[in-house]
């Protein structure tokens, strides 16, 4: 049973962690919200229909793209690409690695762990209070990105050119206009074509991707006493996993590498496609496989959630067992 006193201590620890991370959170929140909004607005600037012929010539390289080329010709697909944008990934990684690496090795490096743990708080509660703030912050950042996209969807007006009615001549394969009218332009709100709720599962995917990184960073942090080394170790794993994922996609013989990379579990655009092709609940299925030779859509974020949680459990156990060195 949680004692009232512990709740008070937890509350203070949460407040302290919020205070400590608020500046970083503010910057990332502004960046993600603004980027989500601008990224949607940019969609209207490019009429992908004009590039269709060009893109078709690159079909051989479609496997390197996180989404099928067909998705690029829909507004929903193009907006959904936001979740694979480097800025979104970068902001998420910054938050997760910065906060996760801070929990033990950061406090040890600054020397503040000594005073904090002189208070009657267990090491488990100390670590978990940090995890609660970091995870809530991650969730808030994901929601802010979604919020920015929603604002973009609601405020963006699309303009499309409608050609005059025509008829396709059989066998000859060309269009024959039925009238001499000029093509007309029609404008309509993007929200008529794109529903923000389409991206709920993609937002969830981004969240679990971050949760995995948070868990891994916290785990590494609980083993170390220097934050810079923790960050270095996490980024090394990140880059190796990214290279494995890229190589797995590039060469048929190395395809097996993909399944050993956590990037393989991050499929926001696949989830968007599932919504587009099915319904809102399609990406939340635990039983229907995403495609041939694939697992159900919830398997992938579920795996990241489980591994992230295992990392946190290892972090707690290690933090409990280790000797805490005096500040340098």
């Amino acid at each position: 049973m949680i004692r009232l006193r512990d709740v008070g201590i937890d509350r203070m620890m949460v407040r302290k962690n919020i205070g400590q991370s608020s500046l970083l959170f503010s910057f990332l929140a502004v960046a993600l919200f603004a980027f989500g909004w601008v990224r949607v607005w940019v969609v209207k600037l490019l009429d992908m229909g004009q590039f269709q012929t060009i893109i078709e010539q690159f079909r051989d390289y479609e496997k390197f793209a996180p989404v099928s080329f067909d998705a690029l010709f829909t507004y929903t697909g193009r907006v959904g690409m936001t979740f694979d944008e480097p800025i979104v990934i970068l902001c998420t990684v910054i938050w997760c690695v910065a906060r996760g690496s801070d929990v033990v090795s950061g406090e040890l490096g600054r020397g503040t762990l000594e005073m904090l743990l002189s208070q009657p708080i267990s090491r488990t509660r100390f670590l978990l209070s940090h995890a609660v703030v970091s995870t809530a912050g991650l969730m808030a950042l994901c929601l802010l990105l979604w919020g920015g996209m929603t604002v973009g969807i609601e405020t963006t007006t699309l303009t499309e050119t409608v050609p005059p009615p025509s008829i396709r001549v059989p066998f000859l394969g060309f269009e024959l206009p039925l009238t001499n009218d000029e093509p007309t332009q029609i404008s309509f709100p993007m929200s008529e074509r794109v529903a923000p709720e389409t991206y709920t599962s993609a937002v969830f995917q981004l969240f679990v991707f971050g949760f995995f990184l948070l868990g891994m960073s916290s785990c590494f942090s609980s083993f170390d006493r220097y934050r810079w080394r923790t960050i270095g170790a996490v980024m090394t794993v990140y880059v190796i996993q990214l290279v494995m994922f890229g190589l797995g996609k590039a060469a048929e013989s190395l395809a097996w590498l993909q399944s050993w990379s956590f990037f393989n579990c991050y499929k926001p655009q696949k989830m968007t496609t599932l919504v587009r092709d099915g319904d809102l609940w399609s990406p939340w299925s635990f039983s229907t496989p995403v495609g041939e030779g694939m697992f159900p859509p919830m398997f992938y974020p579920g795996l990241l959630l489980v591994i992230g949680s295992v990392f946190y459990i290892i972090a707690v156990v290690r933090f409990q067992q280790r000797d805490l060195p005096a500040p340098l």
Partner: protein
């Protein structure tokens, strides 16, 4: 060294039994047995690396013991360090505080973190130490941060207060104020464990002292006994006995039978430029020995407390307490004589 059960009393608030901490082949603390009694100020003395901080950190559960055991306020820190820290306020040797907080906010934070926290008292201590609480920790000097940490630690009303070098980085005025605070804690019935390199601070405040050396508890001392130890140095008058000998002479055999338990040393140095220097070390009440000293026909007599320094040196340099400073004291006496003549 004392065995574990030698000095443990029912009111012991800290008890360690063969407490050992080993890092690989290096033993940071070896079979340490101490007991700290309720309501006393207990000093921990030793050079850097002697094991003082290791002992404190084991008592608070920062480190896991290799062997042995300890009880702090009735709890084993290895089993329930949270219960220990609920009843202990601890000032680390190098207290570093969250840099993003302001002074007052930090005191509020720590007073709410600890179940025995008392913000008013922390603010009072901060005021006594003339601390500006409006600044962020990041912009405070080392001394200011130490004062702030002291205000944090003196806030909670815990039965035990552990201070690891509390006066480091403080100016002499504030040092004095901190020592007053420590003494006030004892008056209020709290127990204080106090680690310091400054011997005069230990002398001023502590009731008992433990000396650590290379991870070993080398000596325990009751300060009351130390205060009763004196060294007499004087010049031997020409008419006195032994004036004709050339070598330094140990005259313990000539101490009257009834004073033998009180006089630890009675020695005459070899002749110097101003004569021969007599050194007598006494333990216990000085009064009974004064009549005998008067009969020795001495000149330029000088009596001073033996002091913690001599014990410290004997522990750490391996000299006997009565040997330490003997040459220096003899020189002092001859210097005084030289100046007066």
């Amino acid at each position: 060294m004392d065995s574990p059960s030698d000095s443990i009393t029912p009111d012991s608030i800290v008890v360690t039994t063969d407490l050992t901490k080993r890092y690989g082949s290096f033993e940071a603390l070896k079979q340490c047995n101490i007991d700290v009694r309720g309501g006393e100020i207990f000093g921990l003395l030793g050079p850097n690396g002697a094991g003082k901080t290791t002992l404190i950190r084991l008592l608070l559960g920062y480190l896991h013991v290799t062997s042995g055991s300890s009880k702090v306020v009735g709890f084993d820190p290895e089993q329930d360090s949270v219960a220990v820290r609920t009843r202990v306020a601890y000032l680390p040797g190098d207290a570093r505080l969250p840099r993003h907080m302001r002074g007052r906010g930090l005191l509020e934070f720590f007073s709410q973190m600890h179940p025995s926290g008392d913000l008013a008292r922390s603010l009072d201590v901060a005021e006594r130490l003339e601390l500006d609480l409006s600044r962020r920790v990041a912009f405070m000097s080392t001394g200011m941060r130490q004062k702030l940490a002291l205000a944090v630690v003196f806030g909670p009303r815990t039965p035990l207060l552990i201070l690891d070098e509390p006066t480091a980085n403080l100016d002499p005025t504030v040092r004095g104020e901190v020592l007053k605070l420590v003494l006030a804690e004892r008056e209020e019935g709290r127990t204080v464990m106090f680690s310091s390199h400054v011997l005069s601070e230990i002398e001023q405040t502590c009731d008992r002292v433990a000396f650590l050396r290379k991870g070993v508890l080398a000596r325990k001392l009751v300060m009351e006994d130390l205060f009763q130890r004196h060294r007499l140095t004087a010049l031997l008058s020409d008419s006195a006995e032994h004036g004709g000998t050339v070598e330094s002479v140990d005259l313990r055999s000539e101490i009257p039978e009834e004073l033998r338990s009180r006089v630890e040393r009675y020695q005459i140095s070899a002749p110097g430029p101003h004569g021969r220097v007599v050194c007598i070390d006494t333990a216990g009440d000085l009064a009974p020995t004064l009549a005998w000293i008067a009969s020795l026909n001495l000149q330029h007599v000088r009596i001073e407390p033996l002091g913690l320094h001599s014990v410290y040196e004997s522990v750490h340099l391996g000299r006997s307490e009565t040997d330490s400073h003997w040459a220096a004291d003899a020189e002092k006496v001859t210097d005084v004589v030289g100046a007066s003549t």
